[in-house]
């Protein structure tokens, strides 16, 4: 499971940094390294691009996992360079931004957009796997999630927009319910296709969601 990100456009990043001339860049050694959006290579390339644009890069680091508590140590180790910067440019996912926010009062500007929590099906192909809905249905849908794999998130079977097993919205994408049907058939559990699924509960926990583990 990984946090899947896409780099913002150079224009958007420039816009985000307007009025902030001294920049400290933070990448992440885990998810954004894997998606080539904020690993060491991308951080160095970003540094060079910002310098060409006339920015002063006071330093950079790639935190092994920017969403966990190693971030605090990385912030301390880079204290002087961060202190002399106007802001941090984050090339970790949004979770890294949230983590850094705990330790740094300066503006943290994201250079990437966090798209979804996904897995890598084949090299370079990332697919959203879980919407963290809090009411897991995978046991009744043959391990294929209709919330993430169906564009409409339909839990009571497909809409009318299937063509040759593909989704009418994206002809490259399999219809989630066709996949579910085929797997349920293999498992001899097609009776589940007729089960009424009540409306989803969007109040499993209050938004923003939180959980205290005792």
């Amino acid at each position: 499971m990984k946090s899947i990100t896409r780099q913002k456009s150079p224009e958007d990043i420039q816009q985000g940094l307007s009025g902030l001339d001294r920049v400290f860049i933070v990448g992440c050694g885990t998810c954004t390294t894997m998606t080539h959006t904020g690993g060491i290579d991308e951080v160095v390339a970003m540094k060079e691009r910002l310098q060409e644009q006339g920015k002063r890069v006071t330093g950079f680091t790639v935190i092994p996992t920017a969403c966990d508590d190693m971030t605090e140590l990385a912030m301390k180790e880079n204290g002087p360079a961060i202190s002399s910067a106007d802001c941090i440019l984050s090339m970790s996912c949004a979770l890294g931004v949230h983590r850094m926010n705990l330790y740094i009062g300066k503006p943290i500007i994201p250079a990437v957009d966090t798209l979804f929590i996904g897995i890598e099906d084949s090299p370079g192909y990332f697919r959203e796997a879980c919407a963290q809905c809090g009411q897991c249905l995978l046991g009744e849908t043959a391990g294929i999630c209709p919330i993430t794999a169906c564009h409409k998130g339909l839990v009571n079977g497909p809409c009318g927009g299937t063509n040759n097993g593909r989704c009418e919205v994206d002809k490259e994408k399999d219809c989630a319910w066709t996949l579910i049907y085929n797997r349920l058939k293999e498992q001899d559990r097609l009776d589940l296709m007729r089960k009424y699924q009540p409306p989803r509960n969007h109040h499993v926990t209050l938004a923003p969601r939180s959980l205290r583990i005792q």
């Binding site: 097993g165 219809c175 066709t178 009424y196």
Partner: protein
């Protein structure tokens, strides 16, 4: 006679479609209503069809009532959560709307506001369940209503599928819809009485009236476009050639549609004519079909 009485008494019903336009000019809707009111039993009013923003189906259904044409209020789950859907149903009832057609709704990505947030808080099945709860005097949270509706709820199904899985999924979903309270069914456009007959055999056990959907062909190009782009629509090559060769395409399109209706009539309980801009030709189609 209302659509409900007609279908419940086993008489062959005719419905058609009225599509609201983008803007506040209701001239065309009013003209269509005046022309169709004595020709059809009811008219579907589409709900932001193809995810293109336009005048709403609730207000347009109200216009049809004022003009003496019974509406079938189409309701999709794309744009409203369960609070808004139930509230609009109550509003529809007090406006005199009696028929509701529950649909999932096309994705916003296909329409003219592709960046819109898709809702799908309910789906066509849970919406039918919600209509049933309102009819019973409760909302879906279990709260009692003061005054309750008695909607005649319908649903849709695709008759022709290109894969076995798709066919089975359509039937299974139709079963869920009937179990959730659908009392009549309108189908996606059919062009083959043979395949429609096979479909009717599959769903006979559900004991729910089915109105066969038909779309009159305007040209060979339109038929090819639908074959390529509209899921579940399969126009046979023979009809496409007939349209391509026709000198008077309008007359041929109407005749093909009328002939098809004649073949479908013994197999089902009604016909749903989706004229797509040809609303004014619906009376000619009905006449040519001998209805």
């Amino acid at each position: 006679m209302s659509l409900k009485s007609k279908l419940e008494s086993g008489k062959f019903a005719i419905t058609c479609e009225v599509g609201p336009l983008k803007g506040t000019d209701i001239t065309e809707v009013e003209e269509a209503a005046a022309l169709l009111k004595d020709k059809v039993d009811a008219a579907n009013v589409t709900d932001q069809q193809s995810s293109v923003m336009r005048l709403g189906s609730l207000a347009t259904s109200g216009i049809l009532i004022n003009k003496g044409l019974e509406p079938i209020y189409q309701m999709t789950c794309r744009d409203r959560n369960r609070i808004a859907l139930q509230s609009d149903l109550l509003s529809a009832w007090v406006m005199g709307i009696r028929n509701v057609l529950a649909l999932t709704g096309d994705l916003p990505a296909l329409g003219d506001h592709p960046a819109a947030k898709p809702v799908y808080d309910l789906d066509s099945v849970t919406l039918l369940h919600a209509i049933g709860r309102l009819n019973a005097g409760f909302d879906i949270a279990g709260n009692e209503l003061k005054g309750k509706p008695a909607f005649f709820a319908g649903a849709v199904v695709k008759v022709d599928s290109d894969t076995e899985a798709s066919m089975e999924l359509q039937i299974a979903k139709l079963e869920r819809k009937v179990a959730a309270g659908a009392k009549f069914i309108q189908t996606q456009a059919v062009y083959s009485a043979d395949s429609f007959g096979k479909f009717m055999k599959r769903v006979a056990k559900l004991k729910v009236p089915v109105l066969a959907g038909v779309i009159p062909l305007k040209s060979a190009g339109m038929a090819r476009f639908m074959n390529k782009n509209v899921s579940g629509v399969l126009v046979p090559e023979e009809l496409i050639e007939k349209m391509a060769d026709a000198e008077d395409k309008t007359a041929t399109g109407i005749q093909i549609c009328a002939d098809l209706i004649k073949k479908l009539k013994p197999l089902c309980q009604g016909v749903h004519i989706m004229a797509i801009g040809w609303e004014k030709k619906v009376p000619s189609i009905i006449q040519a079909a001998g209805l």
